[in-house]
């Protein structure tokens, strides 16, 4: 079964999202584009169960995430969903390696050493493993954040403008990494981006404008 997400409307005083409904099959790499304020971040936050929809639901692997109790939801989130942010959001006092294994520790598990080494290799962070985030460049920091997400092997990765703070060179590296990972471990990626060229690398592009979602379909490559 592929994960499918059905959407209802979100309404405060402004209707941020209007009966958005779509589904994403497992392993697909989806880009969401749209003007600022169009509701794409709201959409992403709801998929990640950070924000509650006013009505409607989100199904991941066939499970309605908003039917779960808060505690269950946290555990579900840390095992199945990984977040990547524009602002990296690393823990400043922890080294690269400690940052990457932290979510695994939160789940009271032992980090998979072999996979960790592999990730550090792939992310090109081997020599940097005992550095602090403040000693890294923006691109390196974002690669740490990606490593942190990948180590828990989530089935769904949500990224809110992961390259928003990076230059072109670093951006394409980060995107390539994410894309490879999704291929390799059959992980679904949903990513918000402002960049046309990044959107073009995706399997599918969704556009949100004024809370309405349009499927722009596959990009011609």
């Amino acid at each position: 079964m592929s994960p499918s997400k059905t959407y209802g409307s979100g309404e405060t005083t402004v209707q941020a999202l209007k009966n958005v409904s779509f589904s994403v099959p497992k392993g697909e790499y989806v880009a969401i584009v749209g003007e600022s304020g169009s509701g794409k971040s709201t959409l992403l936050n709801m998929i990640g169960a950070l924000d509650n929809p006013t009505s409607g639901n989100v199904l991941i692997d066939g499970r309605d995430i908003f039917a779960m109790k808060e505690n269950r939801l946290t555990i579900f989130r840390r095992r199945n969903i990984g977040f990547i942010f524009q602002a990296f959001n690393l823990i400043p006092e922890l080294t690269v390696e400690q940052n990457i294994i932290f979510p695994v520790l939160l789940d009271y598990q032992k980090p998979d050493r072999k996979y960790l080494e592999e990730l550090l290799e792939v992310l090109n962070l081997k020599e940097r493993r005992s550095h602090l985030p403040s000693q890294l460049s923006g691109g390196q920091q974002q690669r740490v954040a990606i490593g942190r997400v990948l180590l828990t092997r989530p089935s769904l990765i949500l990224a809110d403008e992961p390259t928003g703070n990076l230059d072109t060179q670093n951006s394409s590296e980060v995107i390539a990494l994410l894309k490879n990972a999704s291929k390799r471990y059959a992980q679904t990626i949903i990513m918000i981006t402002h960049s046309q060229s990044i959107a073009q690398t995706a399997d599918r592009v969704l556009q949100v404008s004024d809370g309405v979602l349009t499927d722009l379909g596959r990009c011609a490559e």
Binding site: N71, R78, L94, Q98, F102, L106, R148
Partner: protein, 400 residues
């Protein structure tokens, strides 16, 4: 790193400066209690010795406890224990609260990468307990040391009835009560900030804007105040719990002060002066810490105000208005409660023993307290407002 809790000592090392004041508060509480109880035991031992010589028969501590003096001594120690506990809890709770408020974004991020409510609450509590590791032993050692010094003063300077007081006695009651005090204050103090931290929404990490997420319920009422002063008062009143904690810790130092002055009328005057000086010092530290924390929590807001043209003088006025609001509300509650407790203590301790003694209204003491607190407040405003004035506008507005 074995567990997510290993982050606690790591981040404690990094945040050493921010935590210094809180640790000082714990040391102070542990020290006071250890010293008070140790002194009580020393006096007790002396009495036992004296009675032994007089009556040439065995006297136990139990027998002394049954006497009027024994009961009085431990009653005082008990009242002080409770007061110091409350004072410690309020002070420490206040500073943990401020640090939690400043770290909402960090907590949001933790929630985002999968920390549950319960784990977050545990994290904050253990972080607080971690301070005890250094603070409790330090407080106990200081307490024992000052007991020795006080005993020496009583024996060689005051003399009279104290020539037989033990010099280097170590009181088990003192040590145990000090440790209990330290751990109890911290655990009690961390409860509400831990809950507050656990409530932080993971959305904060995504939006990256913790200040906007704070909902403002009421606008500023300027009335007869100018806008800068009105803003300061508003900041103080904005968060009810914070106002309560701030005013409470001001009030508690006043209550402690007024209670100790009652003890001045009792026999062991000299130790009381020592404690008064310490209480005064700790109150200043606490006031400075609270105000400095409050200012650093609003750095960005102040930066924005500077950016739209608020001058340094107005910044100072705004911060002073906030501080004075805390100080005044603390003063009023502290004086009322302090007078009441002082009166009751006086009744029990002094009027019971010396029927001719009459309670007088401690007008001078009250005046001293008021002047002292206000002076401390203005001194406390000085450093953070200068820091604010000298800071480049862009530095604060760009700060994440």
């Amino acid at each position: 790193m074995r567990s997510y809790l290993s982050l606690i000592p790591i981040s404690a090392r990094v945040r050493r400066r921010q935590n210094r004041m809180t640790i000082l508060c714990i040391i102070f509480a542990v020290f006071l209690v250890t010293a008070v109880f140790s002194m009580a035991e020393m006096v007790m031992r002396m009495e036992v010795e004296r009675l032994k010589e007089k009556h040439e028969q065995e006297f136990t501590i139990q027998a002394i406890l049954d006497t009027n003096m024994g009961q009085n001594l431990f009653l005082i120690a008990g009242v002080l224990f409770v007061l110091i506990l409350i004072a410690g809890v309020l002070m420490i709770s206040g500073s943990i609260n401020s640090t939690v408020a400043q770290r909402t974004k960090f907590f949001g991020m933790m929630r985002c990468i999968g920390m549950s409510h319960r784990q977050l609450a545990r994290f904050v509590k253990l972080e607080a307990l971690n301070w005890c590791k250094t603070a409790v032993p330090a407080g106990v050692v200081l307490g024992i040391g000052s007991t020795w010094i006080l005993c020496a003063i009583l024996r060689f300077v005051v003399r009279e009835e104290y020539t037989t007081i033990p010099l280097f006695g170590i009181s088990l009651i003192g040590i145990v009560s000090g440790i209990v005090m330290g751990v109890a204050t911290v655990l009690l103090a961390a409860r509400s900030p831990a809950k507050r931290a656990a409530r932080v929404s993971p959305l904060l990490a995504v939006s990256g804007n913790s200040e906007e997420a704070k909902r403002v319920y009421r606008g500023v009422r300027t009335g007869f105040l100018s806008i800068d002063a009105a803003l300061g008062v508003h900041h103080a009143k904005e968060d009810r719990k914070n106002l309560f904690l701030m005013a409470g810790s001001f009030a508690l130092s006043i209550i402690l002060f007024l209670t100790f002055t009652v003890l001045l009328d009792l026999a062991f005057v000299s130790c009381v002066y020592g404690f008064l000086v310490i209480i005064a010092l700790v109150s200043i530290l606490n006031i400075m810490n609270s105000i400095s924390l409050s200012v650093s929590g609003r750095m960005r807001q102040y930066g924005a105000m500077r950016a739209v043209g608020m001058e340094g003088r107005q910044i100072t006025k705004m911060i002073s208005a906030e501080a004075v609001t805390y100080a005044l509300s603390g003063c009023v509650t502290g004086c009322i409660l302090g007078l009441a407790i002082g009166r009751v203590l006086y009744n029990i301790l002094i009027e019971g023993r010396f029927p001719y003694a009459a309670w007088t209204f401690p007008g001078t003491q009250l005046l001293i307290v008021m002047v002292y607190v206000l002076a401390a407040t203005f001194a406390a405003v000085h450093a953070p407002s200068r820091r604010m004035r000298n800071m480049a506008v862009t530095e604060t507005t760009n700060e994440l």
